[in-house]
């Protein structure tokens, strides 16, 4: 469940205004919201990597809700989606034709067509993502030569922009593949920018407009972190070291608790 942007904004304003410290207008808040959401989103990857060391050394707990690695993995679900890539004959590879921004590629699954003469049933295989150099090496060996059961791929970019994109885009080259192969990729998409939209009231006040606002994509569990980190930046804006210090301490304490 996403974090409601109005809840965050009103809480931030409430804390800031309590002692008449200052005020953050919506435009500034929106900038901070984007920044903080990206900060938190980016932190998942090093944090996940660090916490996963417990798994690697068999020190992770097996409880239902206190496995930190599982918890961090879970927080990525709002950004994770299996997406079909489309075969592009001109580039002999697969491209993403959606409008979102791909952040990372996860598991890639290729489905080989079934209607080839004399061939048996449909073959669905996990495609191994390699570097270009590995791709060449693997393709050269007869024992590891990619087959429908063991396809491999590498990423590059299209020779030219393919509309509606205006710049060359991500291209996945799969071997073996043809125009009839379908490619499903478990993608992580970059977060969409949150926005606290408003209308101006009769007294000139800002009135929250829920229909035009965009909530944070982060999981509801991040609401507290969002508020603290926005306060931290807000403290810098309003030049109040107390706010910065208090928020930074709180953020640090939360992070330490998470990773220990």
């Amino acid at each position: 469940m996403a974090v409601n942007i109005n809840t965050v904004y009103t809480t931030v304003l409430f804390i800031l205004n309590k002692e008449q410290r200052g005020y953050i207008p919506p435009a500034e808040f929106n900038s901070l919201a984007v920044q903080v959401q990206n900060d938190i989103f980016e932190s998942y990857f090093p944090d996940g990597n660090q916490v996963n060391r417990l798994n690697q050394s068999n020190r992770q707990n097996d409880t239902e809700f206190f496995d930190m690695f599982k918890n961090i993995s879970y927080k990525l679900f709002p950004f994770e989606k299996e997406t079909n890539f489309t075969y592009n004959a001109a580039n002999t590879g697969f491209i993403y034709t959606g409008t979102k921004t791909i952040y990372k590629l996860g598991e890639i699954v290729a489905k080989t067509p079934t209607s080839q003469t004399g061939q048996p049933a449909n073959i669905e295989s996990v495609v191994q993502l390699t570097s270009k150099s590995d791709y060449t090496e693997i393709t050269k060996s007869k024992l590891t030569l990619p087959t429908a059961n063991y396809p491999i791929c590498f990423t590059t970019q299209t020779a030219a922009a393919i509309a509606p994109a205006t710049t060359p885009q991500l291209l996945i080259k799969v071997s073996p593949a043809s125009a009839t192969t379908t490619l499903a990729v478990n993608c992580l998409f970059a977060p969409t920018n949150p926005s606290w939209a408003f209308t101006v009231g009769t007294l000139g006040q800002y009135i929250y407009n829920s229909s035009l606002s965009v909530d944070f994509q982060l999981d509801i569990a991040e609401q507290n972190t969002l508020i603290i980190n926005i306060l931290k930046y807000a403290g810098i804006i309003i030049k109040d070291p107390q706010i910065v210090q208090a928020a930074a301490q709180e953020a640090q304490s939360e992070e330490t608790n998470l990773k220990s």
């Binding site: 003469t117 590891t144 063991y150």
Partner: protein, 402 residues
């Protein structure tokens, strides 16, 4: 979940039946055989029809008279979709091709799909081995945290090759006739021979041995009067016809192994001949066990990549048993379940031992594990049964007469 997914009818008869639920076009019937349906064409008049590994039969409701269905249908992902309308309660049967032609229609679904599936439960495919290995042996908290699938594929195929050479059953064999040229080409997937025998009228095998009496030359350069090889217009040595092979082919082999011909040139020179030496005059060396047999010989001609046989085997029926590497055809890439664990151990050891910075005690442990499991697999696959062993050992008290 049980590993058997076919019912008895699917396994033994290679048939699966359906009932059309309503009178509709484009009705779909999903085959659930272990064998994937291979589809070329529905039309017997088309060449690709022969690619099908099954036939489709229908029978009208309440009638037990099946006829082959040759109107339009498609097969995608083991789902047969019949384009035309078929009536409700029509019986539809998919019959995999079998050596006995199946039980439906004209009983002419001839092929080997059913027989190829029989006994398949004793094997596990290499694909399954790799998938199982990735699940059971790779991951956080395990000995191998992460590995590229192409590495596993490489080691699995290398493992299968090694296992094929000395652990797995040698099931490859060909029945051949020896032509007047006395040479037969090596099988397409040949790696090494196990044995070669000619078969008499009673079907009994008589082993043919390789010989060191002659050799097939690898190169036969033509020489000038000074003995210097001559070259063609492209700068390569010109090659002639082997006189050694001709002499061996023309040779009357009874001179070598027939005791009745002791006074021949051969026996005079070599004293007692090459054969068993019984009753020979002036035998100087006595019996040479390696050639004391009358079944004939073969040589491996590395120049022509053929087996060359001695002239007394001309027109003989032979059986060539050989080993391949298990990777020649998709159907071959399977491992007996008796050796499944040995394959996992092989993979673990291969992956860990080729990695940098692995503790040597772990590599050693895996090495010992691999060896022990391979030994187990060999014992299992050597198929020694106590009853059979006892029966053989009953001959131990026979008197050997001299």
């Amino acid at each position: 979940m049980a590993l058997l997914t076919e019912n008895n009818r699917q396994y033994y008869a290679g048939a699966q039946g359906f009932l059309a639920k309503s009178t509709l076009a484009n009705q779909e019937f999903t085959a659930t055989f272990d064998t994937d349906l291979v589809f070329g064409s529905f039309n017997p008049l088309e060449t690709n029809y022969a690619l099908n590994n099954f036939k489709l039969y229908t029978a009208a409701a309440g009638v037990n008279q099946y006829t082959e269905y040759t109107l339009a249908y498609t097969v995608i992902n083991n789902v047969i979709k019949i384009t035309n309308t078929i009536a409700a309660n029509t019986s539809v049967v998919i019959q995999l091709k079998s050596e006995n032609g199946g039980q439906y229609g004209n009983k002419d679904a001839y092929g080997s799909a059913v027989e190829e599936n029989w006994g398949s439960y004793s094997y596990i495919t290499l694909n399954d081995i790799i998938d199982n290995f990735m699940v059971g042996y790779i991951g956080d908290g395990k000995l191998i945290g992460t590995v590229k699938k192409s590495d596993v594929l490489f080691f699995a195929k290398r493992g299968l090759q090694e296992f094929s050479y000395d652990t797995l059953k040698s099931i490859k064999s060909q029945e051949l006739s020896i032509p007047p040229s006395l040479s037969i080409p090596m099988p397409q997937d040949y790696v090494n021979y196990v044995d070669m025998s000619w078969v008499d009228k009673a079907g009994i095998k008589h082993i043919i041995y390789p010989t060191t009496l002659t050799s097939d030359p690898y190169r036969i350069p033509l020489q000038d009067s000074d003995g210097i090889p001559t070259q063609d217009n492209f700068g390569s040595n010109t090659q002639g016809t082997s006189q050694i092979e001709k002499r061996w082919n023309d040779n009357n082999l009874s001179n070598l192994n027939n005791e009745l011909d002791n006074n021949s040139f051969w026996s005079n020179i070599y004293g007692g001949g090459f054969g068993n030496g019984f009753g020979t005059n002036g035998g100087q060396y006595g019996l040479q066990p390696e050639i004391a047999q009358i079944n004939g010989w073969f040589t491996i001609n590395e120049r022509t990549n053929t087996f060359s046989f001695s002239s007394d085997l001309s027109d003989k029926l032979i059986i060539l048993q050989y080993i391949s590497d298990g990777l020649a055809a998709d159907g071959d890439t399977r491992v007996p379940k008796m050796a499944e664990e040995a394959m996992y151990a092989y993979l673990s050891h291969a992956i860990i031992s080729t990695r940098a910075n692995q503790p040597e005690y772990v590599v050693n442990r895996l090495s010992r594990e691999k060896t022990a499991k391979l030994r187990n697999a060999k014992i299992r696959l050597s198929n020694i049964k106590l009853d059979e062993f006892t029966q053989i050992m009953r001959g131990k008290s026979k008197w050997i007469k001299s």
